[in-house]
Symmetry: C2
Subunit: 216 residues, 2 copies
């Protein structure tokens, strides 16, 4: 239970949305939520406000809050932006790499290698996140790091779906290898290019995503 009820509720409701417990399009009734969590409406409203700012729900004045349904097209757009930001992070990381960042990338990369080798999709999902976060941090740009982390978080559920696709694990890891090489070689342009294609969802990978979304 976080420092105050409002933030705790924000996380709680956010998780519920990201895990599809609250379905896209569903209306979130303040009183119902307040009862469910055993608090008053005030912190519930604060939590909803924050979720609105993050973009997970939409608060229509006097008409309540509904869970936003991004839809395949918008998700594609979000990945498109994510790819661009990660590309920037990679190119900066290649230029500014220091010892600590290098070690962090190496560590998370080898953890990815283990889980990919073991074919453990869930473990890879987690290690992959850490790997990407290490690259954000290596960019040495706090603002970029924050933006990347925020968008990464919002795309989390779809990324998870992606990993389920056959062979994606080993493909993803070999792409990681090339990315690490480029960054460690100080080749910013190459790191940018590789990360862009690694993160972006083009062609059949997009159809795969849509298919797995439709499957739920």
């Amino acid at each position: 239970m976080s420092e105050n009820v409002g933030r705790w509720l924000r996380d709680e409701i956010e998780n519920a949305i990201l895990s599809y417990e609250f379905a896209p399009g569903e209306r979130l009734d303040e009183t119902v939520l307040a009862n469910r969590f055993g608090v008053s409406r005030t912190p519930v409203r604060e939590a909803l406000m924050q979720l609105d700012a993050i973009g997970l729900i939409e608060i229509r004045p006097r008409r309540g809050a509904i869970v936003i349904d991004p839809g395949p097209h918008r998700i594609y757009e979000m990945f498109e932006v994510m790819a661009e930001l990660e590309g920037l992070a990679g190119s900066l990381a290649a230029r500014r790499l220091d010892k600590a960042s290098r070690e962090a990338i190496t560590a998370t990369h080898s953890r990815c290698e283990q889980s990919a080798g073991a074919g453990d999709s869930d473990a890879y999902y987690y290690d992959n996140e850490e790997f990407h976060k290490a690259i954000y941090a290596a960019s040495r740009s706090d603002f970029l790091e924050e933006q990347c982390a925020q968008l990464h978080r919002r795309l989390r559920p779809y990324r998870r779906l992606q990993l389920r696709v056959r062979n994606r694990l080993s493909t993803s890891f070999s792409e990681h290898c090339a990315i690490v090489d480029a960054i460690f070689a100080g080749n910013g342009d190459e790191a940018r290019r590789l990360l862009r294609t690694h993160v972006g969802i083009q062609g059949e990978r997009f159809s795969d995503l849509v298919a797995s979304m439709a499957a739920r």
Copy 2:
């Protein structure tokens, strides 16, 4: 006065912060704000919550809200990300340009030409905004458009400072010309490259910015 007091207050306080009426580092007392705007603390808290999510203030639990002081370095980082996003918008615009977007860009571009020719810095400041927004819209990516608009808004005060620098008006406009040419020619890579350097603040332009910030 917007649809509800909370959002109105958000805009009101946001403007006060962006216009330096509330100085960076300053503490924002809920009761004081409530009295000042003649409302209760409830909508004030809602507004502060939203500003926290936007990143303009920081709410420290049980210790009140303070206006964030980005500092030159972080502002540089924000421009760096802005440059990247605008570059993406430009490259997408070049690929996806349709009649309506083409006309919107042409219209705003020629308005920039007028105000730049007249040496009217304030008018150019406004027309320039519209020009960039036209490019965001031309990208045909709603998410990217929103992200660009949000960051653009947050960088507004510093952009204004930049334009004060000698000769920046005509330099900016000639860069616009090249950008328009690249987009209309369908040359996405060129548009991206030009926008990145147009938006970014490298070298002496960064020192200029820091200098004008220190001058206040």
